[in-house]
């Protein structure tokens, strides 16, 4: 009997232990390291920091800038300078930087902020979302958008065409503008120190939205089925609401503290990676032929150009204005907007406006760089600048030549930006030859797109294969949709 009692006590003790405290005991599975809810300012900071460092200052620009030979990558070939880019190289840009770090968080912020009526936040989120999506489609072509970021409903998102994506992008920018103007919006917390671009100046964000709209309308100027004049007029209409001076320039100011430095500095100057990224002989030749004083600002120390793809002499490292530790990263400049207006005005036949905008675009580019040029050329700077402007601020009577002037100035003014690559693909101006030692024998011109990334080939195979783009490096010679009919550009030739 005594044994039975012991067994009873034993079982009772265990069951008591369980019923009274077991659930509490086991409720330890909420992650102590990571929050489940995050406020709008914390999300916005993350989005801006990621988008700036990983996308606008990251791999897409590093690569495509060598393709348009503003820079070169002076290393043992093959490298991306020789167009050696495959599905693995381009994987991070798609996988981590764009679809997850930036755009998914833009979607979350835009939904959360809308629900909380913090429409300034949702507006900014939509601008960056649209912008990043444009970079994805400009690099890879068709891409998931309408079925993206819905893992339960669409575990294998289908691809939207680039044409569709551009309508979504314009729509997002429109929504952003609407959000900013909503009367029922709440402003506590207000966008402020969490906004590294404009410090909470929503008016400037709205101008940026219009400026991007103008850029994207013009992007489709020579797209199949699109009317060049119509796109130019749409761009002009949008540009009217755009940036109104260099004070409106969208720039991300980095700091010289370790781990806070400008992405170009980290990538190409400080030795953490290497110093292979150097000024290209192409842009050096282009600018020095014209005594362009901005070249001094583009280069660190003596100006020298590296011949893309060669095993030749080293070029200058990138200039301090662009690649010092605390240099700004340029998102969007007033000068680009003016040159957009100049191009659009020329297309719609308004040469007077084209001339005015062109001149403004040129002068604002110099205004932005005058300090940097002065630091290099000293007392000679002012004279060199005014001489150059005097020599170059007049559009040629020939529309074709004028178009060359505008696009060449835009190529220079957009130094180290992704947009310079898009403009070159769209117009072929300035003319860029193949780098030496191209990795593929069948290349006739520099890389025209990225291949689809390995993540898609592995985990969304059916949908990516339906796009008909060659797998891997062979893709770089395929044009994206808006770039598929170059003969439409009558002004370019």
């Amino acid at each position: 009997m005594r044994n039975l009692r012991i067994i009873k006590v034993f079982v009772l003790a265990i069951s008591l232990l369980y019923t009274t405290s077991c659930d509490d005991f086991l409720d330890v599975n909420s992650d102590p390291n990571n929050p489940t809810q995050v406020s709008e300012p914390l999300l916005l900071t993350g989005i801006i920091a990621n988008f700036s460092y990983e996308v606008l200052g990251g791999f897409p620009v590093r690569v495509t800038n060598t393709w348009i030979q503003q820079t070169g990558y002076n290393a043992a070939f093959p490298s991306y300078d020789n167009y050696d880019v495959d599905e693995n190289d381009v994987n991070n840009t798609w996988t981590f930087f764009s679809y997850t770090d930036v755009m998914h968080n833009c979607k979350i912020l835009s939904e959360q902020a809308s629900a909380n009526r913090l429409y300034d936040y949702s507006g900014i989120a939509k601008i960056i979302w649209a912008w990043n999506m444009s970079i994805v489609t400009d690099l890879y072509g068709n891409a998931p958008f309408s079925q993206a970021w819905q893992p339960e409903a669409f575990p294998f998102p289908e691809y939207d065409t680039q044409e569709e994506i551009y309508t979504y992008i314009q729509s997002l920018l429109d929504q952003a503008i609407v959000d900013f103007g909503r009367e029922d919006k709440l402003t506590n917390p207000a966008v402020g120190a969490d906004d590294f671009i404009y410090g909470g100046d929503i008016e400037k964000w709205e101008k940026l939205a219009y400026s991007l709209k103008a850029r994207f309308y013009l992007r489709l100027s020579y797209a199949p089925g699109y009317n060049t004049e119509t796109q130019a007029q749409l761009a002009l209409d949008a540009a009217a609401g755009g940036l109104s001076g260099n004070a409106d320039n969208a720039m991300y100011f980095y700091l010289s503290d370790p781990g806070q430095e400008n992405p170009w500095f980290q990538y190409a100057i400080d030795g953490k990676w290497n110093t292979n990224t150097q000024l290209s002989a192409n842009i050096v030749d282009l600018m020095s032929a014209n005594n362009d004083p901005r070249l001094a600002a583009f280069a660190r120390g003596e100006v020298a150009g590296y011949v893309n793809g060669s095993e030749g002499n080293a070029g200058s490292l990138l200039g301090e204005f662009y690649a010092d530790a605390d240099a700004p990263l340029i998102w969007f400049t007033y000068s680009e907007l003016k040159l957009i207006e100049a191009e659009a005005s020329l297309i719609v036949g308004n040469k007077g406006n084209a001339q005015a905008s062109y001149q403004e675009g040129l002068e604002s580019s110099f205004a932005m760089l005058s300090g940097a040029i002065g630091a290099k050329l000293g007392d000679n700077a002012a004279g060199a600048i005014s001489t150059y402007i005097d020599d170059n601020d007049e559009l040629n009577a020939s529309d074709q030549v004028a178009y060359q002037q505008i696009m060449t100035q835009k190529y220079i003014a957009n130094f180290l930006t992704f947009e310079a690559y898009n403009d070159w693909r769209r117009t072929g101006i300035p003319s860029i030859g193949l780098a030496q030692n191209p990795v593929r024998g069948d290349l006739e011109m520099p890389g025209l797109r990225f291949p689809y990334p390995s993540a898609e080939l592995n985990y969304n195979a059916a949908n990516v294969n339906a796009q008909g783009v060659p797998v891997g490096n062979a893709a770089v010679k395929e044009r994206v949709w808006w770039n598929s009919t170059p003969e439409q550009c009558t002004l370019c030739n």
Binding site: I6, F25, P41, F77, F96, W273, P470
Partner: protein, 1048 residues
């Protein structure tokens, strides 16, 4: 049960010593065959006076005047009583006791059971075999000794981790490591690194697995529980098998303390090969000496335009001239360049010194053991060392007739100083493997005192790295067991066993100012704490119902709680060089990684015995786990096993088949989810370019968060492992030959997988119940004594063989493979079509006949997509130990083999580029690739285009083809060769010592392998799932050590 206790009691008498002294009795004890029996207990009946026989079977005993009878006791033999009378000399022969020849083993939860009752396989390795391994990591000492256990050392640095996997990989993306249990309590065997969660092991290498804190000197034996039937009572954590360690205990020495001292001194050398020793630094056959401009920088290129030979551009590669073909310009300018062996210059003879002192003793009421060990181990790389101090105290006390207490406290203090390995300039192997033979590795300062390497800014000098950088781990660890046993009734016992395992690891990573790649320096300092509390409360029943039937039973409860915390500070830019304190940095980033896992379980076991012949065991366990969703946190599973000792029924001639058993079991085991898999969270943003560029968050005074890239799952269910096992245990020819065979088929279903998904869903990974992985295999252990002579010569053999096949049944919907470790290319992954441990990377294009497709340049064409280029799983593994003993002399050799399976030699990839690999020694020769050329019309012709294997060939083509760096990972090692000698008692008589033995042990004396670097054991990912990734890890070592053991 009583019989077992009796056996234990006998064991405790083994080291009795005499203290009453009246009559000197002496004699000799032999077995039935006339061979001397050492270790026989000789007792004066009715007293505790006694002694044991020496290696020759001799004994001397001071017996009291009134001694009537001597009792001779030896495990496995019948007791013999001999009347004393007036005799003083005794020649006694003992006979085998077949009833007592009953192996008792410790099974799950520490339950002792007769081996014959078990319906599943387990295998035990005793202390002698462990010590012979002369490995500081207990995991390595098991290599080759247990069938079905695969061990892979991650590299040759002292204090490196080792992976141990039993019966193949059971989990797709979770841990496959078995549970380590010491004296019944689970302990942590994690591999911690200061920067885990911040930086991948790809860029720094790994540190040790924490089982390295165990002191091999106090381990009595290690029992490996292999299948699910054996481990079911350990629940989820035993799903990958269990390594059960039993430690040495005190003994009844009649009160007199016994002191045991062992000491070992050894030397280790690196196992290195695979480097060319003919071609100098340079480019295109032209010599460059790698010195900085102004410091004698010289190059032989183009004497016309470069008459002085001094230029800034040096080049780091070894594509210079042959030592036999140096151009006149160079000879005239600087003479014949000096040749070095950089690897030999850098690695050193590493010394190991290990000492252990044990004091043990006690009475029948209380016994104790105190042990102190000190290990000081140098690594072959300067700066690398592993030191360990272990203090163990254990007490067994009989508090009353019914209540017993066991308490053990273990303290470990270990220190590991490591060099950074892995991919990148901070890795010492990065330069060492590419170091040209014509450049002096010992010179790394210019005359003006400036640090330089063979090409400035590109590489670090390994000596400089060893002096300036390092990764340091200082561990303080307590492991405590507290156990009470209460005999309620002779057949009913209550046990409570409490365990605590707690450690603190002060873990730092130093990068000094001036380091190429991190010029401003860096400091990681991490406080890692881990504790585990475990309690088992059990009722055990052992009742003989009648002559035919017996019942055993167990009812228990387990409560387990584990908490891990890593507080990490990352300091960037050291202000004062060489001063590693967090105050001395420009910016500090702080991180916290916390994890808490708890479980509550009930378990039960019932065993039925019929005529000591037929046994049935039923086991079950229900776990409630904290890591599953609340509504699905409870899960039940169990096993049934049958054992049939057919020789009891058939009565086969003892000389032929004295013992034969058949086993059969079917079991299921549940497994739980990793912590925090059910609730979606945000992370602090980690802004960076995925390689080296980074924006530290918080930035500009603002914190930032982003959604976790891994999608959690609030519908998760537990995993389920099902295993069928059948086996036999046979003993032949008077037990001289034993054979143990097992076949198993194990299926892990509903696997919790962190599956990669298309990032367009907004996540890169998703946690799902999806995967299925199967393992099927056989294990064979053969033991035998081919020779056993009258004169004492004996030859014992043990053979272990195992073969395991892993198939990945399925992964998540639409997913055919998952990433395990590595870069985008190459990497290791699990793949539905190719199995587990697939080497994945760039490969050559093949036509439909499997022939290489050759391009117009005569070189194979790269396939545009990545694919499987190898598999790391071996075909079979095995070990053979031969032991020869003659009187006090024992010679033992252990061969360990792993046959089949591939390894990715990613070092070779770089070394081919840099021209230091031995395979580039054929440079200049011509090759015609075996392949076909596409005619463009769907037909192919045989390739006939010759290609010169020049620098461009190796650099631009060869080193770009990952497929060429997949090598055969097979090896056969003479893992241990030991010679030991026990001094005969005749020599010890006049000394105040009981036993003295000497040993000489050589480790890895012989290795046969096709691997370019010789020893294919090594893994950049340490003991993780991504095995077979050999890249910038320290080569394995071979060594010899000399030991002495003394008992007082």
């Amino acid at each position: 049960m009583r019989r077992i206790l009796l056996l234990l009691l006998f064991a405790q008498f083994t080291f009795l010593s005499a203290f009453a002294q009246d009559r000197l009795l002496s004699g000799n004890v032999k077995d039935e065959t006339g061979a001397p029996l050492p270790g026989v207990t000789v007792l004066v009946k009715g007293t505790t006076t006694g002694t044991i026989t020496d290696v020759d079977g001799n004994f001397k005993l001071n017996a009291p005047e009134d001694a009537q009878t001597l009792v001779f006791q030896y495990i496995g033999y019948e007791n013999k009583e001999v009347a004393v009378g007036t005799q003083t000399s005794f020649n006694v022969s003992l006979t085998t006791d077949t009833k007592q020849l009953e192996e008792v083993v410790v099974t799950a939860i520490g339950v002792e059971q007769k081996k014959r009752t078990l319906g599943y396989a387990l295998q035990t390795v005793n202390s002698d075999e462990l010590v012979k391994a002369t490995e500081s990591n207990i995991v390595n000492s098991l290599a080759g000794k247990v069938a079905g256990v695969q061990i892979n050392s991650s590299g040759g640095q002292a204090g490196s981790s080792s992976r141990i996997v039993i019966r193949g990989n059971t989990s797709l993306s979770g841990t496959n490591a078995p549970l380590f249990v010491i004296d019944g309590i689970p302990i942590d065997n994690s591999q911690n690194t200061a920067n885990s969660g911040v930086e991948s092991t790809l860029f720094g290498g790994t540190q040790s697995n924490r089982a390295i804190d165990l002191d091999p000197n106090v381990i009595e034996d290690v029992t490996v529980l292999k299948g699910a039937a054996a481990t079911v009572l350990y629940g989820s954590r035993g799903a990958n098998g269990v390594i059960m360690i039993t430690t040495k205990r005190g003994k009844d020495t009649g009160g007199k303390p016994r002191v045991e001292i062992s000491s070992r001194y050894g030397i280790d050398r690196p196992i290195v090969r695979g480097f060319q020793d003919e071609f100098l630094q340079g480019i295109g056959g032209n010599y460059r000496n790698g010195l900085p401009a102004g410091e004698g920088g010289f190059r032989s290129l183009d004497p016309e335009t470069n008459p002085t030979g001094a230029t800034a551009s040096q080049g780091s590669t070894s594509w210079g001239p042959s030592i036999n073909n140096i151009d006149q310009f160079t000879l005239d300018s600087i003479g014949v360049p000096q040749i070095f062996d950089p690897r030999r210059e850098f690695y050193r003879n590493a010394k190991v010194w290990e000492n252990n002192v044990r004091v043990l003793g006690g009475s029948d009421k209380l016994n104790y053991l105190l042990s102190f060990s000190n290990l000081e181990q140098e690594g072959i790389a300067p700066g690398n060392r592993f030191d360990r101090k272990n203090l163990t105290a254990t007490i067994n006390a009989k508090l009353s007739e019914k209540l017993r207490y066991t308490g053990t406290t273990r303290y470990t203090n270990s220190y590991n100083s490591r060099l950074t390995e892995g991919n990148g300039q901070r890795s010492y192997l990065y330069a060492l493997n590419y170091w040209p033979i014509s450049h002096d590795i010992n010179k790394y300062y210019t005359e003006s005192g400036e640090y330089y390497s063979f090409v400035n800014n590109a590489f670090n000098n390994p000596f400089w790295l060893a002096e300036n950088n390092g990764r340091f781990s200082r561990v303080n660890r307590f492991t405590i067991n507290q156990q009470l046993d209460y005999d309620v009734l002779p057949w009913l016992k209550v046990t409570n066993r409490f365990g605590l395992d707690a450690y603190h690891d002060a873990n730092e990573d130093h990068v000094n100012v001036g380091t190429r790649g991190t010029p401003n320096g860096r400091l990681y300092t991490a406080d890692i704490t881990n504790y585990e509390i475990n309690n088992d409360l059990m009722l055990t029943v052992d009742k003989q119902i009648n002559d035919d039937f017996a019942i055993t039973g167990l009812l228990g409860n387990n409560i387990n709680s584990r908490k891990y915390k890593n507080s990490l500070m990352v300091g960037t830019n050291l202000n004062i060089p060489s001063f590693f304190d967090i105050s001395n940095v420009s910016t500090v980033q702080a991180y916290e990684f916390d994890q808490e896992i708890r479980s509550f379980s009930l378990y039960a076991k019932v065993g039925f015995e019929f005529r000591n012949m037929l046994f049935l065991n039923l086991q079950g366990r229900n776990d409630w786990s904290s890591t599953l969703p609340v509504e699905d946190r409870s899960y039940l599973y169990g096993s049934a096993d049958v054992s049939f000792v057919f020789t009891e029924l058939l009565q086969i001639d003892q000389n032929i088949l004295p013992y034969g058993k058949l086993r059969l079991s079917y079991s299921q085991a549940g497994n739980t989810a990793p912590a925090y898999s059910t609730i979606q969270t945000f992370n602090q943003s980690d802004t960076g370019d995925g390689t080296r560029g980074v924006i530290n968050i918080p930035t500009q005074g603002q914190n930032a968060f982003e959604l976790d890239n891994v999608q959690t799952n609030n519908q998760l269910q537990h995993e389920l492992i099902s295993e069928f096992e059948v086996g036999a245990d046979l003993k032949f020819w008077n037990n001289r030959v034993g054979l143990d065979f097992a076949y198993y088929n194990r299926e892990s279903d509903n696997q919790i997988v962190t599956a990669s998904v298309t990032p367009t869903t907004g996540f890169t990974n998703r946690i799902v119940n999806a995967g299925q992985i199967k393992n099927e295999g056989v294990e064979l252990t053969l033991t035998g004594t081919p020779v056993d002579l009258q004169n004492g010569f004996r030859w014992d053999v043990q053979v272990n063989y195992a073969r395991n096949r892993t198939t990945v049944g399925k992964l998540a919907d639409g997913i055919e493979s998952i990433f395990l470790y590595g870069f985008t290319s190459p990497q290791i992954r699990a793949d539905v079509n190719n199995g587990y441990g697939v080497i994945w990377g760039e490969r050559f294009l093949r036509n439909d006949k499997g022939r290489l497709v050759i391009g117009n340049n005569g070189l194979p064409i790269q396939d545009s997509s990545l694919g499987s280029i190898g598999n790391v799983q071996p075909d079979w593994t095995g070990g053979i130990r031969n032991t020869f003993s003659y009187k006090g002399l024992t010679l033992s050799a252990l061969f360990d083999a792993r046959i089949g399976g591939d390894i990715l030699n990613f070092d070779l990839f770089y070394m081919t580029y840099y021209g230091t690999a031995e395979l580039t020694e054929d440079r200049g020769s011509v090759i015609v690739w075996d392949g076909v050329i596409d005619n463009g019309d769907g037909t192919y012709r045989e390739n006939d285009i010759p290609v010169v294997k020049d620098g461009a060939y190796y650099r631009n083509f060869y080193s770009n083809s990952t497929e060429l760096f997949v090598e055969d990972a097979s090896f056969i090692k003479l893992r241990e060769l030991s010679l030991s000698y026990n001094l005969p008692s005749s020599l010890l008589d006049r000394l105040p010592v009981e036993n003295v033995s000497f040993s000489v042990i050589a480790r890895n004396l012989f290795i046969a392998s096709n691997f370019s670097f010789w020893d294919p054991e090594g893994s950049l990912g340490g003991n993780g799932n991504g095995q077979g990734f050999y890249h910038s890890v320290t080569p394995g070592t071979r060594g010899i050590s000399f030991g002495i053991n003394v008992s007082l």
